[in-house]
Symmetry: C2
Subunit: 102 residues, 2 copies
């Protein structure tokens, strides 16, 4: 199972790009990109979009990977992780089917 960081790093290397080049495009310090690739920091959505662009990855897919990873790590230690996800799904559908929010 590939983490976001691994996806980004593998893709970057496949394309033969350097940290320096990618981080310049995304407009962040290369130290940050390095940390993101190693899972030490989390990218913002803006960064993700830029990364998807330069690495020619699907933006939505990358976002899904990112958010699901975040959630998974949040709850993986819980006995009831799967139940949490099931209930979350019900709540999401409820929220979606129901009009305005704040």
């Amino acid at each position: 199972m590939e983490t976001i960081g691994e996806i980004l790093r593998n893709r970057r290397q496949t394309l033969g790009l350097l940290l320096r080049q990618v981080s310049a495009y995304v407009d962040i310090d290369q130290a940050i990109l390095s940390k993101i690739e190693r899972g030490e920091r989390k990218p913002t959505k803006e960064m993700l979009n830029k990364l998807a662009e330069i690495l020619k990855l699907d933006k939505d897919e990358l976002l899904v990977q990112f958010m699901s990873e975040k959630i998974a790590y949040e709850i993986a230690d819980q006995e009831c992780a799967n139940k949490v996800l099931k209930v979350a799904e019900r709540k999401v559908n409820y929220l979606k089917s129901h009009p305005i929010k704040n």
Copy 2:
């Protein structure tokens, strides 16, 4: 669909308890409990456990409600919310089936 806050408040009122009494048991300021019940603040897991005790609610169930609500609000605005949950489930199962972490 009942929020955590509503669950707590309804239950407290059903039992005829005052904010003051419950907050004393949980050992927090009653202003905080008031805010929790109205969704303005999030309880910690410790608070949740104490609340479950004094309100005679199932701890695990309350935790599930809490975490799923948190997740639902995090992603409900996303087009791909359901996909995120599906992928998160796969990741959770992967993490669980795989030995140690950090």
